[in-house]
């Protein structure tokens, strides 16, 4: 009787209520995937580590303020031991989370934005545009990550100096972000394009065109919402891939030596001969972190794919 069911007076509140409702529904469906929930929990833990490392383990230790002796095994003061400079491995690993996650996030952003735009435009517009965009995509699809990083990193550093900041990020990290972004958007573009091609043929797209929607409007309002589930599931997996690639690049020495990422620690462990010295605590923690994060993203990605894909939902 309070006219709450109609509420034409306050469509904004009505809209918010609906958003909340669908959000709750989404959470409820996601919660039915225990693997996804486990993955999400792992990611939350790592996000906290990335956000407040100093609060948890103190400020980042350097050679000058190292708290222990070189290559100490795990004990009560240094739960995960120390590296060859006497720095606490736990301290380094927790601080490394931030760089690894940040690079993963930025690279994923680059990947998704470029990949989605290329995919939707190529799929919807078609014809010559499609052909040109897809040839460009093919070019990037076959670009080897390492070779590109090897070429790009020195060029960028030479041009702007290794201390320079680009968009608030140190040049070295920026190169890593660009390299990962540039080499991984192509497969996203391919996936999105294939879906856009199929959505384009649906009748509601014709209807939208008849109604007067411009191509931009149709791509944003009709194609994009129909490929968003693919984008989300793909993004999560891209994130995992980006973290892995960052680790690999840093491991082979293409990272930023001043910002400890997991790959950097692994690189240091390798170059100091930690495996040969039996100092497993030097490389095991960062390696475990990489594995856990990638695993967590994969679990969440699988669960999201299930939740967002209505047909997969029916199968259950």
């Amino acid at each position: 009787m309070t006219a709450a069911s109609v509420s034409p007076a306050n469509p904004r509140r009505e809209r918010l209520r609906l958003r909340m409702h669908s959000a709750r529904e989404f959470v409820g469906r996601f919660a039915q995937h225990p693997d996804g929930v486990i993955g999400l929990a792992i990611l939350i833990v790592f996000s906290v580590l990335a956000l407040i490392p100093t609060l948890l383990v103190g400020r980042l230790e350097t050679a000058t303020i190292a708290s222990g002796l070189p290559l100490q095994g795990p004990d009560a003061t240094h739960i995960l031991g120390t590296d060859d400079l006497g720095r606490d491995i736990l301290n380094l690993t927790v601080h490394g989370t931030r760089i690894s996650m940040l690079i993963g996030l930025l690279a994923t952003l680059v990947t998704v934005v470029i990949g989605t735009s290329f995919g939707i435009v190529a799929g919807y517009v078609g014809g010559v545009v499609d052909a040109i965009l897809m040839r460009i995509t093919d070019f990037f699809l076959v670009l080897p990550t390492f070779v590109l990083a090897l070429i790009l990193a020195p060029i960028v550093l030479d041009l702007i100096g290794s201390d320079a900041l680009i968009l608030g990020i140190r040049a070295n990290l920026f190169v890593t972000v660009i390299v990962i972004g540039v080499t991984s958007w192509a497969s996203t573009a391919r996936i999105i394009r294939s879906q856009a091609l199929s959505v384009r043929e649906r009748m509601f797209v014709d209807r939208a065109r008849v109604i007067g929607g411009s191509s931009g409007h149709i791509m944003r309002r009709h194609i994009l919402p129909n490929v968003v589930n693919l984008i989300v599931a793909n993004t999560v997996l891209t994130f995992a891939g980006a973290v892995l690639t960052e680790t690999t690049l840093a491991f082979v020495g293409l990272g930023d030596p001043f910002d400890p990422s997991w790959g950097q620690i692994l690189n240091a462990a390798e170059s100091r001969g930690a495996p040969g010295l039996g100092a497993w605590w030097f490389f095991a923690p960062p390696a475990a972190c990489v594995v856990l994060v990638v695993l967590a993203f994969t679990l969440v990605g699988g669960a999201l794919d299930d939740v967002l894909n209505p047909r997969a939902r029916l199968r259950r």
Partner: protein, 380 residues
């Protein structure tokens, strides 16, 4: 909390009264609503040219409902969609004129024509599920033409969309539902709301009730009827279901192989069909009162329109075929009772009765059924 949610409230008609918007600038206010003359639409295929619509003329009067009937592939949909050229890429309107208030839409450029689509002539598409985007809320989709066509701000457009949904009998709060949350009939209603969004002068219903069950079909037809009276719409209804036309339309245009076979007021035409094709179509309607075992059929199928038969296009299937039918295309003749027919059996200048023909064996159709009226729903 009294009548405010009653969709049939008479005040609604005043809210969205007839022609609130001015006519297009070039329009002649004294001209007739829609006059189509000698419309020809051809499809280009690798194997030849399909003359899907080949010289069709008709008129639509203000507030009138015109039914277009015929078998599948007779050019019904192509005829209607040619009015605003909503055609596949390989189809082209190659001739004729489509005069909307005196403005010839057939010669308009694609860009100029866009102004008329949806704002003046809108379409209720066949198969509402496919014409609605599954991942967008119904209300947003109904609001889409209001925003995109009329440039109305979003909040106002959403309000209007809810009004429209209410007008077609969907509760306002269902505007936030996704298409899969609506029943088939409600989706079709939402499509109708979308067609009405810009207050068009003419609505084309492209088999709006196909794929709906009979009860829902009746509700949708009733809704169209009500909207027509309430909003003063003019309706072109494409259907192969003659009983739908008998119930809803004022006039009917029977098409065969891209041409008009017969056209006239529903009552007159259904009670006394002249063209053998119309007669046979009507004989194919099940009739409770007649022989239950045999239903009239029309042997054969419509011709391949890449190579249409010479003369009258119906002659290969016509039980009353004359020699002249095989060679000469019959002229369309209009009789005093308003019926126009293109058949050599009804020569110009006659009184509208069939001319005597040499007795031939009537094949295929049940001779007694030929002049029989359809089962029910005839206009008085």
């Amino acid at each position: 909390m009294t009548a405010s949610t009653d969709p049939t409230r008479p005040g609604q008609a005043e809210i969205r009264g007839r022609r609130q918007r001015p006519l297009p600038r070039q329009a002649d206010p004294d001209a007739r609503l829609l006059v189509v003359e000698n419309l020809r639409t051809y499809f280009t295929l690798s194997s030849g040219t399909v003359k899907a619509v080949d010289g069709v003329s008709f008129e639509l009067h203000d507030g009138e409902a015109l039914g277009i009937a015929g078998e599948s592939g007779c050019g019904k949909t192509t005829t209607a969609l040619s009015l605003v050229r909503l055609l596949p890429a390989n189809a082209k309107v190659v001739g004729g004129s489509v005069k909307f208030f005196g403005i010839d839409l057939a010669t308009k450029s694609e860009n100029a024509l866009r102004r008329y689509r949806w704002r003046e002539i809108s379409v209720i598409f066949q198969g509402a599920m496919n014409a609605l985007n599954p991942v967008r809320r119904v209300g947003d989709q109904v609001a889409e033409p209001i925003i995109e066509r009329l440039g109305v701000p979003k909040a106002e457009a959403n309000r209007r969309a809810r009004e429209l949904l209410e007008l077609v009998g969907i509760a306002r709060n269902r505007a936030a539902d996704y298409p899969h949350q609506l029943s088939g009939g409600m989706r079709q209603r939402a499509m109708i709301a979308m067609a009405l969004a810009c207050d068009p002068a003419i609505v084309i219903g492209d088999e709006p009730t196909t794929a709906l069950d009979v009860m829902v079909q009746a509700q949708i037809l009733e809704l169209l009827e009500r909207l027509r009276a309430q909003l003063g719409l003019s309706l072109i209804l494409i259907t192969h279901d003659l009983s739908v036309i008998a119930e809803t339309c004022d006039r009917v245009l029977v098409m065969y192989a891209g041409r008009v076979a017969e056209e006239g007021p529903v009552g007159t035409l259904f009670s006394g069909p002249r063209h053998p094709y119309t007669q046979m179509l009507l004989a194919a309607i099940p009739n409770l009162a007649s022989d239950r075992r045999l239903l009239g059929t029309i042997p054969g199928s419509p011709p391949d329109l890449r190579t249409p038969p010479p003369g009258c296009r119906f002659h290969p299937r016509c039980p009353l075929v004359l020699d002249v039918c095989r060679e000469i295309v019959p002229d369309e003749v209009r009789y005093a009772d308003g019926v126009r027919v293109a058949c050599h059996l009804y020569p110009p200048g006659g009184d509208g009765t069939r001319r005597p023909i040499p007795i031939v064996e009537v094949t295929g159709a049940d001779a007694s059924g030929v002049t029989r009226a359809p089962a029910g729903g005839l206009a008085p």
